[in-house]
Amino acid sequence: MSQIAMKDISVEFPGVKALQQVDCDFAGGRVKALVGANGAGKSTLMKVLSGVNSNYTGQIVFDGQPVEIRSPGDAKKLGIEIVYQEVDTCLVPNLSVGENIMTEYLVYGLKKGGVVNWKHLHREAARVLERLHVPLDTHTLVSSLTLAQKQMVVIARAALGNCKFLILDEPTAPLSQKETQKLFDLVRQLKDEGVGVIFISHRLDELFEICDSITVLRDGRLIKAFELDESVTIPSIVELMLGRVYNEAIDKSGRETGELLLEARGLADREHRVSGIDMTVRRGEIVGLSGLVGAGKTELCKTLFGAFGRQEGELLLRGKSVRVESPAAAVKNGMAFIPEERRKEGILVGEPVVTNLSLATLGKHTRMLSFINRGSENRAAESKVEDLKIKTPSVRQRVGLLSGGNQQKVTIGKWLDSGADLYIFDEPTKGIDVGAKAEVYRLIVELARQGKGIIYASSEQSEIMGLTDRVYVMYSGKIQKELITAKTNEAELLFYSTGGTKDEK
């Protein structure tokens, strides 16, 4: 069986040491877990192994032979295949399962004349599916498959050739429990065939079920590699992942917690991306939504804001039962939303600052017959630019040309005079620099001081710990646990984020 030894691997991006002298071994017929918090270097390491990141230093030894993996082609030749989380991007939806599995044959394998031997194509595809015990008809169109089935197709394609190592990058994140079990059956099958599987996952409870050993990375360094046996516990892994975390204190004083602003009872969206949500937010309170990427934080924010249309369950605002079935209705009910995908959902990049700042409140700057009062619009924009310290040459500047932090201030600024008293922030500090982050925090605390209720969704535990009063930890579209921030710690947040429950602890 094949062996890979990665020795002394370092990767440096401008200003960032993504990997520092990491050693890692992989063996055929074994499943290895690779874990770490966001930015720990898991993906970078796997990009090196799969040839996507050619810019590494260090040595890779394959079956005792030093090898260079400088392109995906190099990796493929060695039998190293990677399956990314976004399976849709590597399948052709309008072609059949068979054609997708046999892509390589269709692209490189055709004889002169380019005639496709369909019998051969479907027979070979069916053979690999049968070998892996995947019950799929090779004639089905990929576009009609579920996400889990698409994943199987991608894995089958990877397993077709001389696959010796298979990297699965967070394969279970979008899957249901039943689908996850099917995926695990497939992984076990590959393992029995002697394939080495490398399994990246945030769901720590799953690792025990499928993995033989585990490697923990943090801040680009190897922390520990060990066998995954009964003596290992989830909290001990979490501890290794977190290490000591530096956290700048945020001044949250001067706030008063007031009346109940929002209450959700059994809230769900139409397609049950999130369900059974019970939560409350008071005036002056900063309530965190914690959880890993894909846990349903964004979905909950959007459900609350009516962005998914009709809601199920009950939503009370200021004690009154309301139906928030569109963002327009949410705005009317005094809600404001700062979405995660800033450039796509938060601002109009091609429009000037003033237009963006008045987007939610344009009705206030109109005269008879809804003619826009540009004087009033400009004055309001200029005062917001001053209050929020938005760095822009003028309010006529296109927002797309501002820095990420200033764009985010514009996104927040458009709500300031909307009369909203419930602000929903979804990863507002994503992609902005440290200085701007601190300003965003201050701004949020200031809103809370004014008696607004704040919902703050973030996948960074340190942010949740520093900023919030109370936190709801989400896992797989549900609230796993409610915690008082002062009485918890990052390890506990991460414990519940990875699907832990009280009795395990």
């Binding site: 963002p327 109109t366 826009i372």
Partner: protein, 327 residues
């Protein structure tokens, strides 16, 4: 380096003012080449009159383009409006103001149907309105019994007492009234799109629908409004068509589809506004009108004029899309 900025600025200038430069250039060339036929006061009025229907229909198309949707059915909506308005008067004896009002209400409903299919069933606007174009063309032919509608002749095989079409109706499509109507339409659309809240939101919906929606803008409402306004202006154009020609041929409105779309796209770049707008659209329509008229004055073969018009559209699309890319 300096040179590069210089050529970039020239490129920018041509992008922003190219339509006007081209129009002036065409004007000078035709005036020199065909001084009698082209350069006369009477011909200027002819040009204005001939572009007015294109311009009015194109005013409607600016709504669709502003909101980021597309309407291929405007030509056929115009044909339908032409047929309905004149027959409401001639066949059914409905008074002219009511006949016109009724026609425009029906057009608005057509726009509403387009909006329904695009918004509720998620058919791409391009395809939904293509289907609507066929349906309307067929409906008009069925309504007219498959022949030219002439308000002075009763349709074959139908027992109808004809009412005379009032002179006022016939003068709508002639100078000076047609030019005044066009100018009024331009003014209304310019004010609405450039100066009102609803106009602003139309653009926002076209610019980034998701960001607009998450800011509380009723995206579907504005898309529906865009389709309806588009159809209403197509309807006004249709009424002008029958008023000017006196009769309604089966494809009377379809010939305006292409120049109207070209006018909007030429106009979007004018003055660096970068968005479909009324004044720019008028410039676009005028450019096409000047070129067409000038080519006739030069005795350019009429059957080849579409080649020139198509090339102008292509150039306009290259310009507006290239400018977008730069943004």
């Amino acid at each position: 380096m300096k040179n590069k900025t210089g050529s970039f600025q020239i490129g920018r200038f041509l992008m922003d003012w190219g339509a006007i430069v081209a129009m002036v250039a065409a004007f000078v060339i035709f005036s020199v080449a065909a001084p009698q036929a082209f350069f006369s006061w009477a011909n200027m009025v002819t040009i204005l009159r001939s572009i007015s229907i294109t311009a009015v229909i194109a005013m409607g198309a600016t709504f669709a383009f502003s909101a980021g949707v597309f309407d291929l059915s405007i030509g056929s909506t115009a044909t339908m409006a032409a047929a309905l308005s004149v027959t409401f008067i001639a066949w059914f004896g409905i008074p002219m103001p009511i006949a016109i009002l009724l026609t425009l209400v029906i057009c608005m409903a057509i726009g509403g149907i387009n909006a329904f299919f695009v918004i509720k069933t998620h058919v791409p606007a391009f395809l939904a309105t293509l289907a609507m174009q066929f349906i309307l063309d067929g409906a008009e032919l069925t309504y007219s019994g498959g022949s030219l509608i002439n308000p002075k002749v009763a349709p074959a095989g139908r027992d109808i007492t004809l009412t005379a079409v009032p002179d006022l109706f016939n003068s709508l499509g002639k100078a000076p009234l047609i030019i005044l109507i066009m100018l009024a339409c331009i003014a209304v659309v310019e004010l609405f799109q450039g100066q009102t809240k609803h106009g602003r939101f139309l653009y926002m919906v076209g610019s980034n629908p998701e960001a607009a929606r998450l800011s509380g803008v009723k995206v579907n409402f504005y898309r529906t409004l865009a389709f309806m306004m588009t159809a209403v202006f197509a309807g006004i154009g249709g009424i002008l068509i029958v008023s000017r020609a006196g009769t309604v041929a089966a494809n009377a409105g379809s010939t305006f589809l292409m120049p109207a779309i070209a006018a909007v796209n030429i106009g979007a770049a004018v003055g660096g506004r970068g968005k479909p707008n009324a004044i720019g659209t008028f410039v676009g329509a005028a450019l096409i009108g000047v070129v067409e008229n000038g080519l006739y004055a030069l005795a350019f073969p009429y059957y080849a004029i579409n080649v020139v018009k198509g090339l102008i559209l292509l150039l306009a699309l290259v310009m507006s899309n290239y400018a977008n890319k730069e943004n």
